[in-house]
Amino acid sequence: MNLTLKVWRQKNRKASGKFVTYKTDDVSPDMSFLEMLDVVNEGLVKKQEEPIQFDHDCREGICGSCALMINGQPHGPKKATTTCQLHMRSFNTGDTIVIEPWRSVAFPVVKDLAVDRSSLDRIQHAGGYVSVGTGGVPDANEIAIPKVIADEAFNSATCIQCGACVAACKNASAMLFVSAKVSQYALLPQGQTERYERAQAMVLQMDEEGFGGCTNTYQCEAECPKEIKVTNIARMNREYFNAEFLQDKKAHV
């Protein structure tokens, strides 16, 4: 296969970037998208040029590192597939492929196609946990959880923190991600004691990071490689409004 790649190159966070065009031939349809970029990079290094930087690691679709905007779609054209699991057979010879980094004020570019997604970590620092220390916990089977709740919580927990939802959203909103985290704990009995404070703290941090607001376009759901549902966002809204309007946070004295 022959391809023309238009790749965003940007030296660092502060530098201004631009598209650079690369021609590549000898692409096998069995290659993954990242392996195709590996080949391009190897060619660049041979010419003593700097390779294209992109985040990747497990290449099994689970670590959430890879994050490329391919022809205007996060992770490319294939549904429920991360960039690393996208194969070149999804393209045709002669295609021009535009590759951009995730774009959001909360995801500053590190270099070329790699962005800094630590904002997603900070949202979880704010409350994405159950406050339980090591040791002294009850036996695992002391808490029975209805299967439907366990399954629903699991569906939320499958989020890989890749940020495709932010990339896909026209408002660069992180609500699908945050709501998946809020939902997992809101559903499970283990998460109940800090349920409302958690929703408030995580939403507050999300806003501080500069993410946009949700306008319910649902592009996040369509582009999520793990098919996280927007019902999580509805749940987060419930949790948050419940916390803000209905919960009394002070003991009566």
């Binding site: 238009k6 598209f19 905007m69 022809n71 205007g72 779609q73 535009v98 951009e100 774009r103 959001s104 004020v105 909360a106 896909a168 026209k170 408002n171 660069a172 909103s173 609500m175 404070e197 408030q200 939403v203 507050l204 999300m206 806003d207 500069g210 993410f211 946009g212 607001g213 949700c214 306008t215 319910n216 376009t217 649902y218 592009q219 759901e221 369509a222 582009e223 927007v230 019902t231 966002i233 509805a234 749940r235 987060m236 809204n237 419930r238 949790e239 948050y240 409004f241 916390a243 803000e244 309007f245 946070k249």
Partner: protein
């Protein structure tokens, strides 16, 4: 924990405001359309003018109308805030961006909303402002309660002191501002009719997203009721109601 202003300055709080004002405006549409259906009554505007008087003078309705005006303003102002914030969240735009998975109207609520706002301003200045403070003509209806026949007479400002409706010798006499005539006249202008129809199209698209979206914002996504909400959103708010409203200018234009 936090006070109300904090709540409503969060992204979720702003969303809630859009949702609540939006739903309130939706409920108004039902009332407005139902009342305005009297335009189609072949009574030279008697029912419509009675309805117009009732709507502008009945105190509880007046209170609600102020809520309505403020809803329109708040809905627009917050839409502006939200749009600015959302634009700031992505300072560098994509060279290429697909809309995969979303409907067109959900991505263009701002444009649709702006059309609607322009429409509301123009609509209110033609009718609401004229009715209250402009030079609306006057009319007198004399209905024979035995035969049901009505005689309509246009009257001059000097013959009109205030709205009256009483029965005298089996004849019901109503004197009122003639908003009906105002409507009938306006809708003879093709450009106005076109503008109204276009605005109703915009409303249809605005509500096909807006109505169900409001329930998503409220977190009301129970799998049992969600289909009902979607059904109402599509069939009532983005088809029936816009058609109903669009039919009015068309009716008068072709009458």
């Amino acid at each position: 924990m936090s006070n109300f202003s904090n709540t409503f300055s969060s992204t979720l709080g702003k969303k809630l405001i859009m949702c609540l004002t939006g739903l309130f405006l939706c409920s108004f549409l039902i009332v407005h359309l139902t009342g305005n259906l009297s335009l189609f009554k072949n009574d030279e505007g008697l029912a419509f003018n009675q309805y117009a008087h009732f709507m502008t003078n009945f105190t509880p309705i007046k209170v609600v109308s102020y809520l309505l005006y403020s809803s329109i303003i708040i809905h627009s102002v917050f839409a502006l805030f939200i749009t600015i914030q959302n634009k700031k969240a992505r300072p560098v735009a994509y060279a290429q961006k697909s809309g995969n998975g979303s409907i067109w109207s959900s991505r263009n609520m701002g444009v649709l909303g702006t059309i609607l706002l322009l429409f509301i301003v123009s609509h209110m200045s033609s009718f609401w402002y004229e009715y209250h403070w402009g030079e609306t003509p006057y009319v007198k209806y004399e209905t024979d309660l035995n035969t049901g026949k009505t005689i309509t007479t246009e009257i001059s400002a000097s013959d009109y002191i205030e709205y009256v409706s009483y029965v005298n010798n089996g004849i019901e006499i109503t004197k009122s501002k003639n908003l009906y005539k105002e409507v009938a006249t306006e809708f003879k202008e093709w450009y106005l009719v076109a503008f109204y129809v276009l605005a109703m199209l915009a409303m249809s698209f605005h509500l096909v997203h807006g109505f169900q979206s409001a329930f998503q914002t409220l977190g009301w996504d129970h799998s049992k009721y969600k289909p009902l909400i979607n059904f109402i959103g599509v069939w009532v708010f983005s088809i029936l109601i816009p058609i109903g409203f669009a039919a009015m200018p068309l009716y008068f234009f072709f009458k």
